[in-house]
Structure formats: structure tokens, C-alpha cells
Amino acid sequence: MTRVVVTGLGAVSACGLGADLLWKGVAEGQSGVRPLSFEALPNQRVGTAARLSDEDKTRVTESEGHRMRDPVAQYALVAAREAIEQAGLGPNDFGDECGVVIGSGFGGAQTLDDNYIAFGVDKNMRLDPMAVPKIMNNAAASWVSMETGASGPIYSPSTACSSASQSIGLAYQLIKAGAVKRCLAGGAEACLVGGVFRVWELLRVMTAEKNRPFSKDRNGMTLGEGAGVVVLESFESAQARGATIICELAGYATNSDAGDLLRPNPDRAAACMSAALADSGLEARDIGYVNAHGTGTVANDVTETTALKTVFGDELAGLEVSSTKPIHGHTLGAAGAIEAIVSIQALKNQLAPPTINFNEVDPKIGFDPVGNEARPLRTKAVMSNSLAFGGVNASLVFKAFDG
């Protein structure tokens, strides 16, 4: 059986440019949530999001930018370059043996928003002629493949908040099946533009205050943006290159609720986690940390807690669970990758990052996550969960590499 290992990590987030700055932010509980406002949205109801700092945004989209790329593709490229560098991949490590699986929820949102406003409001007929290739959801994956020369299979899952978990899972399956030796996998999202923000306001799942997952006084989620990319490869391939192995991707599962677009089903989330455990060959008691989907909406928190208790037992004994979304925000199509990277770093550093802004256990769910302060871990395996709109569940299990 082919084992799949992780050899590189790359992240772009409100915590900064780089997987280490992401980890620093989550481990220290430093939130990247900032005020934001949109020129075309004067009556904005929610005024914060985990957006890139102005300096990082300028650096990523202007200094290193490209007129053919929406910020979403730029975020993916910056994350991919970092992961490739860490993995030590050279020019001969791409080609048909390397796949690219990078998802996104909204694709080139900035380009779409700018051009709709120019066309619909300003009645401008001279729009961006490259709008289509900038907006299409697979542009980020294609740019990564073009820049690296990775000419193996390319996919761009768009399954809302599970896009990036499914991307990493699909890449794992491609490697396990022997279709490729390695993959650049993850997700990217640059959704913090007026039009997208307004439709999230309309759905009314965003809080106008602070994001407080699992806390009794939770009142909705906070959006974020960024990208996460990991280098996955077969153990044999990593060994042959003499690569440093960060950890093993031991198990993955995904399923569908086949029920409701917006209301999650705890039984299906539990079935997904159990299937990922079975795939990894581990038992529930082997998992020491779960990075929860933990959006901080009542629907998610109740469902996810119920599912966790089904899989790990009512007391969640010996298990630390946290949501790091109040720090890096809910990055939608990038969330699964950013949180997988956080989970891998938690495993590597043996530290469960905190759920900041947590005030009080909610008697409705009777669950006490890692609140406000990080906790030490002693574990060889961690899990990262994504539970998306559309009823799409995905769970990844990472294991310490033991030779």
C-alpha cells in the first residue's frame, strides 16, 4: 500500500505570508481580524474580516502580481512557491508525475466584482478583456501548474468550505492509486469584495461582533481570505529524493449529507470522521487533537459537537479540540488547507492552538474546547474537519512520521 507523506507547507493568510506566521498567529492567539469597508457598499452591516494586512496584500497582488491574475491565483502561487521551496522540489520533479489540485469557492471574485460595477453602474463597455480567465475557478490551479511545469492531472474542487480539504484528499487518493508521484494540493480564496461580502450579509450567518466558536454567546462567523498549499508525495518518492518528511497523511474521507443545502447533519459528519479514521488504520483514541470546522454559527457548533461526541465519546476524553477561525477567519475554499496546515503544525509542535474569544461553555452542547490559551499535546495523530454548505463533509487524518 502506497503511503502518502507531506514534505512542504505554504500559506497566505491574515496572519501573514508564510506557514510559520500562520502558526505563530494561531499558537499565540493573535487574531488577523481587521476592520474592512467597501466603497460600493455604503450601508455595510458587518465591518470586520480576517483580511491580509495592507502591506501583505500590496506585496502579493502588486509587487509580485501579474495583470492576467486575480488575487486568488496570486495567493495560490505565493503559497505554492513556499511549499515547493520547503519540499526542496527541483525542475525535474514536476512534469507528468506531479498533479495540481487547488480548489476555490468563489474564484476570481475581485475581477467579477470590479467588472460588474464598471459595466452595470458606470455603463462602461471597455471592461477587462481577460476577465473570463481571471474569474474561472480553476485559474489558480492552472497558474500553479504553468509556473511549475506540473503537467499531471489537474483538478479544482469547488465545494464551498470543503474545497481545500477535498483537494488534499483527492491528491492523496491520486498518489495512493499510483496515478502520480506527487501533488501540489490546497485551496485559495480572495472573496473579500463588496458583492461577495453583501451576499454573505444577506445570509445572515456572519456576526457583527466577534467570532466565538463553541461559546454560549456565539453569534455567527467571520470571513477570511488566503491560500494554503501542501506538497504531498508517495513515501518512496520522498525517500528517493532524500526529502525531509514533515508527517504522513494517513487517512481521508468525504461524504455528502444528501439532505439540506444549509442545515448540516451530525450523523453524516460523524460517518465522515469515522471513515477517515478507518482509512488511516487508527482508532479514535489515537487522535489527540481535532481542528474543528468551528465556524461559530449555532448550526455548525451544535452539529459538529454532536458528531465529535459520536465518534470520540461523550466526554471527548484525551482529546483537545479547537477552532482557529477567530484568528485566520473562515477562508471558505482555502479553509481546509489553512486548517490542515495548522493541524500539521500542531502535531509537529505538540501544541493545541486556542479557540480565542471563548467566554462560556454552552449548556446546549456541553462542550469545553481549548479556550483562549494553547494547551500542550502528547499525540501522534490529529484530524482536520470541514463541513460545507451543500452538505459536503471532509476529514483528514495526519500522523507523525515514524520511518
Binding site: N43, R45, V46, E201, L202, L203, R204, V205, M206, T207, A208, K216, D217, R218, N219, G220, T297, V298
Partner: protein
Amino acid sequence: MSTEKTDISQELLELVAREGMVDMSEISPESRLEDLDIQSADFVMILMALEEEYGVYISVDNELTEVQTVQDLLTLAETKIREGQKDATA
């Protein structure tokens, strides 16, 4: 703002009936939303109308989990409107 409390209650009741597509003769503060067949999609329409007319943002979350009757909803809306007015004059 010198709007009488009773006026705003009546206005809000009319808003809930209109957006929830319920006849005014069938709705009273004591009515349970469930019995009026006001579902989650109707809820979102009511909340959107509250935003349009009074500039208040209510997320479909904790604040709404305890809301069962029309009066619960009116109380929540009035609280938010008063908070909004206080912020505006502060």
C-alpha cells in the same frame, strides 16, 4: 426620534405579516411563528426588511434561537432598533 412604542410595535407587526406572507387578521404577538408557517426563508425576508427599514442587522444565530413567538421577534427587533438609535445619537 419620538416614535411611540406602540406605533413601532404595530409597524413591526405589519412588517412581519407582510414579509412572512401571513394575513394581518391571523397574526397576533402571541402567535407562534411555527403555527403561522413562517419558515427559515421567510425569516430571512423579515430580517432583510428590518435591515432596509430600520438599518438593523440581526444574524440568524444565537439571537434567534430563543425566538418562538411573534412577540419574541418584535422584542428582539425593537431592542436592536433602540440600540441602533442610541449608537446613531451617541
